[in-house]
Structures are given as structure tokens and as C-alpha cells.
């Protein structure tokens, strides 16, 4: 063992902050990886699911005989066949003690409650054979009336989504600042207010629409099972599958290989995962299920879908006095993994960045005969931010104030951090004024206002509007004690391990399972800095419960701020252990050692140093270690945050509205986000861009539309409009940096930021363009037709006709999956 003499004098460039290209991208983009659907196992059977074409009905008979006899078919299983072993899909978030959970069989047994619900599964030797046999299963339904409208569902005497329940209400959750001691009495605040503005906002239903359709493979080996699934949550899935199916947890291994996007849509325990496990167990054969895109749009969980009744109180000068939110949140037909928790997360965010003295939030979870809703990028926080940022504009109009001035008057000042809000959250750090100033400069605010004035005065058919949205969000889900206080079924910690290999290479094991965000790159940067090893020498392992046995997976902008923090802590432990070995080998005391650029040196003794790679080899050999030391410098760490982190930002949108056609076009978009310390600017920029695209999509393009019979009309990408780069503007982005004090990286989380802030900015901009023409609101998405109707007929643009477009040879779901009656063809005359 020799001391290294020829180390470069120059310290290596810090990895954190470097715009590294993502090391995982080449294999993801070129397909040089094994996606779940690529897997082929010897003797593997294929599943196809027979789905309900009716939104609500009793199953009176199922005839599977023709399907069973079809070529290549091995078995056909109905809900009745697996009734005793399928249990109920789990809901891990009982938000109130008396929350009503109707239970959720993976395959319907007696009753179907939404179009697309599984009623049988075909097991065949090929995917084609399985698919062909689907049409041979004959199911008789006694139709029941479908409950589709939330407001009707909670009205007196409403029809029932589940006829064995007493109402369509699952829960009634209340947060009252007065009762919680975080604010004053809300009713009093409203009684005393000089100005009250009330609005009803609609958060339309969205579909996560991840790039890789869901796919599951299960391999039985004796009484052990390995499941590969395109999931965000292999660890949670393993626990839940054990609980649901009774397969013992230690007999289950779950692997999320490379996963192509999720956006919350793969934060789920799906019926098909349970079905695949049950079939593999019953037949003792490996099985695979992969969905089609139409199946995905129709049956994977949806997001958003709230009706928000928002009241805001203020004085004449624009000092806000109170906020009252009553929310109807559509759960769909069943409660999935965290369905009830999504609107409840919003409860702590409706007050936004403003200093409300009084606040009350009430939310009803409502059952309807639609696909369940659950997490979707932002989960509760986009809904909350939309409401507050829209109502602030409405209040500004009422007061005749500049909307920015109103915000400025009420937001938390930079010197007031940390600030405990009326919702009881302690915002960690930030500076809203600076971010806003930068955003105004980026977009060229004054010139745009001048142009707007000019267009108004000249009566230009194309009007210009400017919309602002600020935001903050609670990121890094989550402090376990907070989750406990909200009755969530698990903690919010994250786990990491670092293994120092004999050759000096480093394996990092993370419990936070990526689905495309760039963990491998960012984690490598973190570890390279902390251990002083080359970026290329770090390999990040994830997604397999036998490789990364402990983890809480990825959602809620938690990966870097919780999972990355665990990695950093593990690295610190590695260094601490290595220090002991170094001290021993260098014959110095630990206190005299300095660790820089990956090497320990003895203060005051030039040349006496050891690189961490040398220590790794020495530890592997274990010939000469300190007395009593076990021969390992590997380390594990579990990080449980004390608090959320609170990124914030100001987004500004300039929107052109063609008043002749109702077409809207984003002219300019600028945003300045504060996401704390930036580990990789390229990844952050990518997250912002993608987030903006998704948030703008909610404002302008996307909506899951059901017809009067409960068929999903937007059943293909022809009708569910996901915008492409061609439909989006250039984004001018910027950052301010206020480190998060709650984690060792100082990062705050960026995965949801763009999605949260952009939606209200875009809608505010469109309204700003046409408010002088008498328009008060336009429902999302702002289709040209809605904008035109709001301009010409008043109102908010109204409902869309529910027939699918005639393009594509009329290939709408009405005819592919659903049963159509005269009611469902409202407006459709094909």
C-alpha cells in the first residue's frame, strides 16, 4: 500500500451544479433495455382482460365456454372463480375514521361500477389468442342507473354508485384553522369582511397518459413469486400484494425495471397486478399482461376531477382576511391506493403563499361510476394552487387592483421565513418578490401590457392577455410523523446503501425507484462529490426489492430531497468508516485526517495520503484493519425528513385570443422557480419543461370526457389531446436559489413545480385577454369552442358535446368498449 503522490493539484470540478447529460438516456431512448413488455420467459402465458361495457350493472350471468374452447386458450377466470383469494385492492389512506370504502375486487364478482372494470381474464398461449378470446366471453348485465355528476351525486335522493352504501359520500374531511389553532375564526372573518368574492371552479378529470403502457410479468418458482411491473412503487406493491393475496411478503420479489413514465399514474396497486399474481399462482406458470393504449386511457387511474367552491374575504385595500374552500372530489367508483389523500394534501396548500388570518377547508370524497382517481403529477397541489391563484385574480378585479399588487400585498416576505401558515405548514425558505421581479423581466412585462392596451383600443380581433401565477408546494413526501397524523398507512422515509467495491468503483442502492427522472445521473453526482470518486465510477441500483430491499419509491417530488438525502447520509457514513481505516494505515489519529477530493491526508505531513479507492481495496483484503473493526466501509442510511420542503416560483403567461374563432395561443411564457440547490441544471430544466407542458395541457387541451351512459369518449389520443412540442411555446425559465434547510442537499423538489403553477397562469392570461368583453370564467380545457361560447353567449363555455370526433373513421370508445344508448349519442350524429 503506497501513498498516492501524484494527485492533481487542481481539485476536480464539483459535480453538483453540473449540467451533466443523463447517463441512463442512451439505453432508454434507444430501447437498449428490458422494458417489462419485452420480457419473454419459457412457457409464459398471456393475459387479456374482459372488461365491462356498462358503467353500472349487476352481473347476472357469464358464459365463458366459447372462450375456453378457443384455440390457444388455457383458462378463463371470472370474479367468482377468484372471489375467495383476490381480497380487495388496498386504500392506504383512510383520511377520516369513518371513511366509507366499498371494497374493490380486482375482478368484479356481482356488480360492475365503471366502464372498463375487469369481469374476466383470459389466459392463453399467445397474446393474439388471448385477445381473440375476449370477444367470446358472454356477460349478461342488469343495467343500473349510472352516477356521473358529482353535484347530483351529493344531492338529496341521489342515485347510488354502490347500492349497498347509504350515500355517494366516502368521507367528509375538514381542516379549520380556527379549530386547529393556526388561525382565527373563519366565519367571523367573513362576517366582518368588507369584500367577499365567491367562485365555483371546475378541475376537470385528467388521464396521466404515461409513455409506456402498464405491463406486468409474474414468474412463480416453487412458492416464491417474482413480479416485474411497470410501476413507480415496487416496494409498496410488494407489501400490498402480500396483504391482499396472502402470498407471504418474504416469498415475493417485485422488480420495476426501467419504467417509461408515470406521473403518479403508476403509483398504484392495480387490478391487473393482483390478477397476474393470482393466475401465476393458480397455474404455476409465468404470465404476462400488457395493456393497449385504449385500455390504459380507459382503466388506469385518472387524476384531478374536483369542483371547488371558493370564498375569499378581504378589506377594500386588498388585505386578505379569510379563505373558505368547499371541495367535491371525485373518487370514481372505488378507492384506490391514495385516492382520498389526494384532495386532502391540497388542504394544506389552498392558502398558497399568502398570509390569511383565517382558513377553513372542507372536502367531500364522492363516488361516481367512473374509473377511480388517484395521484397525478402534483396530486392535490395543482388543484389548490389553481383555486387560490384564480380567486386572487377575481378578487383583484373586484377591488380594481393590479393582480400582482394584490399578491404582493399579501404574500409572505423574504424576511419572514420560516413562516407558519394558517394551514399549519412551516414554509422553510424563499423570496417571492425576487422571483417575481425576475419573471417580469424575463417576459418583458411592460411591453406586453403596452401591446395589450393597444390591441384593446384598436379593437383588434386578436386580444392579448397576461396571467400571473405564484405557487409553492409541499415537496419531499414526507415526514413520517406528519403522514401518521394524517392517517396515511406508511412512513415517508427513504433508504440508501453505498457499497465500496474492491476496485474502487461504487454501487449506490436507492429505495427511490425512478421512472425516467434521472436518478442514476443525479445520485452519481451527489456521490462523486461526497466520496471524491469519478462520476463514471458510480453505478446506481434501484427498483428491485431483492437489490434495494427497503424503499418508499417515488412520488410527491420526494426522490432527491428524501432519497438523495439518504444517499448523502450513507456517503457520509462511508467516509466516517473509511476514516478509521485511513487513520490506522497512515498511523495518524482520525482527528488529524483531512478528507478532500477523495483522499485522506494527514495535516502537516505532505505526501501521506490514501485515496478512498485504496481504502476500499484494503478493507476488502482486510489484512490490516483497526482492531475490532468489521471489514466493511459500506453503509446504509435511512432519511426521514423533519419537514417538507417548499419550492416556489412565479409564472407569467402571455396569451393571444382570437375572438373570431376562440382559438388561444400562448405568445410568451416565462417562469422563475426556486427549487433550492440544483444538483443538475439540465434535469431541472427538463422537469420544468415537462411540467409546464402538462400544466398547460390541463389548461388548454386535456379532459377525460364521459358520455351520458358513462362511456369514456376520450378513449384514444385522437380525442384525449396530449400536446406535443409543436403545440407549445418557447419557455423562458430562470431560477432563484434558497436552500432547503431540511435536507443535507438543500434541494427542494422540482418534479411537479411546472405543472402546478402553469395551469392558473394560462387561464388567468386567457381571461385577462377577454375580461373587458364580459367574460368572467372559461372552463378548462379552454377549447376554442368554449372560448368562443363564453365570448358570444356568456357563461363559462359550457359542456362539450360528448361524441368522439369523427376523424379516424369514427374510432371512438363509444363503439370500441362501451354500450351506446340514445343518451350517449348526445350531439353525435354519426
Amino acid at each position: 500500500m503506497t501513498a498516492v503522490e501524484d494527485r492533481p493539484a487542481q481539485a476536480p470540478e464539483r459535480e453538483v451544479g453540473k449540467a451533466r447529460r443523463r447517463k441512463e438516456d442512451a439505453r432508454l431512448i434507444t430501447g437498449a433495455t428490458t422494458w417489462t413488455d419485452n420480457m419473454v420467459l419459457p412457457g409464459m402465458l398471456h393475459l387479456a382482460v374482459v372488461r365491462s361495457p356498462v358503467a353500472h350493472g349487476k352481473i347476472t350471468a357469464i358464459d365463458v365456454s366459447a372462450a375456453q374452447e378457443a384455440p390457444g386458450v388455457v383458462a378463463v377466470l371470472t370474479g367468482r372463480d377468484v372471489a375467495d383469494e383476490q381480497g380487495s385492492l388496498p386504500c392506504a389512506w383512510p383520511v377520516t375514521p369513518d371513511m366509507v370504502n366499498p371494497g374493490h375486487p380486482s375482478i368484479a364478482v356481482d356488480e360492475v361500477n365503471h366502464v372498463g372494470e375487469a369481469v374476466a381474464v383470459i389466459v392463453a398461449r399467445s397474446k393474439v389468442a388471448a385477445q381473440d378470446a375476449v370477444e367470446l366471453v358472454d356477460v349478461d348485465y342488469d343495467l343500473l342507473p349510472a352516477v356521473l355528476d358529482m353535484e347530483a351525486a351529493v344531492a338529496e335522493g341521489a342515485r347510488l354508485t354502490h347500492d349497498h352504501l347509504e350515500s355517494n359520500r366516502s368521507f367528509h374531511f375538514v381542516f379549520d384553522g380556527g379549530e386547529a389553532g393556526t388561525g382565527s375564526d373563519t366565519e367571523q372573518a367573513f362576517a366582518d369582511a368588507e369584500v367577499v368574492v365567491s367562485r365555483r371552479f371546475v378541475q376537470q378529470r385528467l388521464i396521466p397518459a404515461f409513455m409506456e403502457p402498464r405491463s406486468v410479468v409474474v414468474q412463480p418458482q416453487g412458492d416464491n413469486y417474482t413480479m416485474w411491473s411497470a410501476t413507480q412503487v415496487p416496494h409498496i406493491l410488494r407489501v400490498m400484494l402480500a396483504m391482499v393475496t396472502g402470498v407471504p411478503e418474504h416469498k415475493l420479489r417485485v422488480v420495476a425495471p426501467d419504467v417509461g413514465g408515470g406521473f403518479g399514474g403508476k403509483l398504484q396497486v392495480t387490478p391487473e397486478e393482483v390478477i397476474s399474481l393470482l393466475v401465476a399462482r393458480r397455474l404455476g406458470k409465468p404470465v404476462k399482461w400488457t395493456e393497449s393504449r385504449s385500455e390504459s386511457l380507459m382503466t388506469a387511474h385518472h387524476g384531478r376531477d374536483q369542483i371547488q367552491y371558493i370564498d375569499i374575504a378581504s378589506d377594500r385595500e386588498g388585505n386578505v382576511k379569510g379563505l373558505r374552500c368547499r371541495i367535491l372530489a371525485d373518487m370514481g367508483a372505488y378507492l384506490r391506493l391514495v385516492s382520498p389523500g389526494v384532495p386532502v394534501l391540497g388542504a394544506f396548500m389552498f392558502n398558497g403563499i399568502y398570509k390569511f388570518p383565517a382558513y377553513r377547508f372542507e372536502c367531500d370524497g364522492v363516488f361516481t361510476n367512473k374509473v377511480p382517481t388517484d395521484a397525478y403529477r402534483g396530486a392535490g397541489r395543482p388543484e389548490a394552487t389553481f383555486a387560490i391563484e384564480r380567486i386572487m385574480d377575481e378578487l383583484a378585479v373586484e377591488l380594481g387592483m393590479d393582480p400582482l399588487e394584490l399578491r404582493r400585498r399579501n404574500w409572505i416576505k423574504a424576511e419572514e421565513f420560516p413562516f407558519t401558515t394558517v394551514a399549519g405548514m412551516t414554509y422553510d425558505s424563499g423570496d417571492y418578490e425576487t422571483a417575481t421581479q425576475k419573471a417580469l423581466e424575463l417576459i418583458g412585462y411592460d411591453e406586453l401590457r403596452a401591446e395589450q392596451q393597444h390591441r384593446r383600443e384598436s379593437g383588434d380581433p386578436v386580444q392579448l392577455g397576461i396571467g400571473v401565477s405564484t405557487f409553492t408546494e409541499m415537496c419531499g413526501l414526507a415526514p413520517s410523523r406528519v403522514l401518521g397524523s394524517l392517517s396515511y398507512g406508511a412512513g415517508g422515509w427513504e433508504q440508501a446503501s453505498i457499497r465500496m467495491l474492491p476496485t474502487g468503483k461504487v454501487e449506490v442502492v436507492t429505495g427511490s425507484t425512478p421512472h425516467g427522472q434521472g436518478h442514476e445521473t443525479a445520485w452519481s453526482q451527489l456521490v462523486a462529490d461526497r466520496l471524491g470518486v469519478p462520476f463514471e465510477d458510480v453505478e446506481v441500483l434501484h427498483g428491485d426489492t431483492s437489490v434495494a430491499p427497503r424503499g418508499m419509491d417515488t412520488y410527491g417530488s420526494r426522490s432527491l430531497v428524501v432519497g438523495g438525502a439518504a444517499v448523502v447520509q450513507a456517503a457520509e457514513k462511508v467516509v466516517a468508516k473509511a476514516r478509521k481505516v485511513a487513520a490506522h494505515l497512515l498511523e495518524a489519529s482520525e482527528e488529524d485526517l483531512e478528507f478532500t477530493n477523495g483522499a485522506f491526508s494527514v495535516r502537516g505531513t505532505p505526501g501521506a495520503q490514501l485515496a478512498i479507492q485504496e481504502i476500499a481495496l484494503a478493507t476488502f483484503a482486510a489484512h490490516n484493519l483497526p482492531d475490532g473493526m468489521e471489514p466493511s466501509i459500506d453503509a446504509d442510511a435511512t432519511f426521514d425528513p423533519e419537514n417538507f420542503s417548499f419550492p416556489h416560483g412565479t409564472h407569467i403567461c402571455a396569451m393571444e385570443v382570437d375572438t373570431d374563432t376562440g382559438a388561444v395561443r400562448i405568445r410568451k411564457y416565462a417562469c422563475v422557480d426556486d427549487v433550492g440547490t440544483i444538483v443538475n441544471p439540465l434535469i431541472v430544466e427538463g422537469q420544468i419543461h415537462g411540467g409546464l407542458a402538462q400544466g398547460i395541457a390541463q389548461a388548454l387541451f386535456e379532459e377525460a370526457v364521459y358520455d351520458a351512459d358513462g362511456n369514456l369518449t376520450t378513449g384514444t389520443f385522437v380525442d384525449y389531446l396530449v400536446p406535443s412540442a409543436a403545440d407549445l411555446p418557447h419557455f423562458d425559465t430562470g431560477n432563484t436559489v434558497h436552500e432547503a434547510p431540511g435536507n443535507p442537499i438543500g434541494a427542494k423538489g422540482v418534479g411537479e413545480a411546472g405543472t402546478i403553477a402553469s395551469t392558473p397562469a394560462v387561464v388567468n392570461a386567457a381571461l385577462d385577454a377577454v375580461r373587458h368583453l364580459g367574460v368572467r370564467d372559461i372552463r378548462m380545457p379552454l377549447t376554442p369552442e368554449r372560448v368562443w361560447r363564453a365570448l358570444h353567449d356568456g357563461g363559462d363555455g359550457g359542456d362539450r358535446a360528448t361524441a368522439g370526433s369523427n376523424a379516424y373513421g369514427g374510432a371512438s370508445t363509444e363503439s370500441t368498449t362501451g354500450v351506446s344508448t340514445p343518451a350517449s349519442s348526445l350531439g353525435g350524429d354519426r
Binding site: V128, E135, N806
Partner: protein, 285 residues
């Protein structure tokens, strides 16, 4: 999804293709670029007994000059149409509309004849063919016949093509004189079908509009001509007011559908706005 199983023929001449159609059984579908047929089959909305794939029929590709018309082979891809010098010179409206069809990938595979024979009223090319008085040459067991555009589009996804017949080429009369053209397309995202679109060709003479031809996309089960507008514009002064007044008749005689993108009354409104814009642009104003 996976299509239901089907028979497959890949002829290499028109003659073989016609024979394959005759022998294909009860439900034969002709596949040109496959950009509409394959998705519909994958959704199992169509389950033909036999698919006759024309991709190897070389004689159906390409554009040629035929005196007072250009002739576009039915299997010429959108990409080849819009980059063809003859099309650009003599049928610029076709080039302009073709450029708005779907996306680059679809234009590389989708064909001119396939789009017309599919006769999707939301498709961009039928209204253009109608506005330009194109002629459709069909081949069948009994030989060839020619159908004018006005007689080709019969109903929703239905054309004058009889069972066993094949669209082989489309003759587009050259526009002589001082013509301006414009395809005004309205949709929500770049690659989408038209919600409404207007194809206009306008011939100017001495500050007047001598002749206007206007085709409407997606304003009924078939493409339509805005005849009332054409009549109002013939011989009219080329002024914004005249054009705007004439365009108000654009929705006359239309019967558009109502769907997610637009209800019928909004489509009729769009037809008026887009007609005004298309004619204004085509008139060089």
C-alpha cells in the same frame, strides 16, 4: 391492440390488384398507406377478411403532366405530393393542404389516393379535390371509368368506388389564369384532423374576383362546395367588405356533426370565419 386475423395479398400490378379484390372474399379492404386502416383494425372496428396491400404496385406512384391536367397516382405519398414540382406549379392548393396533413411520419406513409378513397370528411384532401374539380379514375373488373369529384364523395366514409374497384389515379385540372389559393385549417393540436377547414382558389381579373372555388372540410358527411359563397363572389369587387359579406353564406347547406371539438353551430360559425380568411388570402389581400 392486435387486429383480428385477416388474409393478405400484395399484388404488384393494378391488374393483379383488381384480381386480388375479386378473390378476397366478402369483406376486402384495400390498404394504401395504412394510416387510417391499420388503427381501425387494431381497435377492431374493422375486421376485413382480406387486406390487399398496394404498396408494391409501382405504376400507382408518381405525378405526371397530362396536358390540361396533372395526374397523381393514387399511391403517391403525401410527402411525394407536396415536394412534387408539377403539384407545386399547377396545383399549389393540393401542396398547401397536404402540408397540413397529420405529421411528418404519417405524410411519409400516407397516400393521396388512400386519403381520398377513405373519404373521411375531417380529412384535408377531399375538400381540396372537390374545390379543384378533380376527376377520379377507378379500375375494376370491367375496366376503367372516370368519376368527377362531385360524384365521388357519396356519404360518410363512402365513395363511388364499387365493390371490386380500385382508385388508381386522380386528374387535377391545371388552373389557368391568375389564381391564388389558400387552405385555412382549424384544429387544436398540430397533428390533428381538421375541426373545420376551407380550401379556396380565387381567380383575379382587373381588381375583381372572376371566379372562386371553395371546398369545405368536415362540414357534413362529405366534403362540400360553398356554392352560395362562390356565386356571391363571381364577378364581385375584391374588397374586404364584399368577401366578408359573401363568406356569411359559407354554412348554407351544410350539416356538420357535433363532437368533442365542436358542436354544429360553432362549426358553422367557423366555416364563415375561415372562408373569409381563405378567400381573402387567396385573393391576395
Amino acid at each position: 391492440m392486435i387486429p383480428a386475423s385477416f388474409g393478405y395479398a400484395r399484388p404488384s400490378t393494378v391488374e393483379q390488384a383488381v384480381q386480388a379484390l375479386a378473390e378476397g372474399g366478402d369483406d376486402v379492404k384495400v390498404m394504401a398507406g395504412g394510416q387510417s386502416l391499420i388503427p381501425v383494425m387494431r381497435l377492431r372496428l374493422a375486421a376485413p377478411e382480406t387486406v390487399v396491400d398496394l404498396s408494391q404496385v409501382a405504376e400507382l406512384r408518381g405525378v405526371r403532366d397530362d396536358g390540361d391536367a396533372i395526374v397523381i397516382g393514387a399511391m403517391t405519398t403525401h410527402h411525394d405530393v407536396l415536394t412534387d414540382p408539377l403539384v407545386r406549379q399547377f396545383a399549389p392548393l393540393v401542396a398547401e393542404a397536404t402540408e397540413t396533413v397529420a405529421d411528418r411520419q404519417t405524410r411519409a406513409r400516407g397516400t393521396f389516393g388512400g386519403a381520398l378513397a377513405h373519404a373521411d370528411p375531417a380529412g384535408d384532401l377531399p375538400a381540396v379535390a372537390l374545390a379543384l374539380d378533380a376527376e377520379f379514375v377507378l379500375a375494376g373488373p370491367g375496366g376503367r371509368r372516370t368519376v368527377p369529384a362531385a360524384g365521388f364523395f357519396v356519404d360518410y366514409l363512402t365513395t363511388a368506388l364499387e365493390e371490386g374497384e380500385l382508385l388508381v389515379e386522380i386528374r387535377i385540372p391545371k388552373l389557368s389564369g391568375e389564381w391564388g389559393v389558400r387552405y385555412e385549417k382549424f384544429n387544436r393540436v398540430a397533428q390533428a384532423w381538421s375541426i373545420v377547414a376551407v380550401a379556396a382558389a380565387v381567380r383575379r381579373e382587373d381588381g375583381h374576383i372572376a371566379e372562386a372555388r371553395i371546398g369545405l372540410t368536415n362540414m357534413g358527411p362529405t366534403p362540400l362546395r360553398a356554392s352560395a359563397v362562390e356565386a356571391a363572389l363571381a364577378g364581385a369587387e375584391a374588397s374586404p367588405e364584399t368577401i366578408a359579406a359573401a363568406a356569411r353564406a359559407a354554412a348554407e347547406g351544410t350539416s356538420p356533426t357535433s363532437d368533442l371539438n365542436a358542436q354544429a353551430d360553432y362549426r358553422q360559425h367557423l366555416a364563415q370565419v375561415l372562408t373569409r380568411r381563405a378567400v381573402t388570402a387567396a385573393a391576395g389581400m
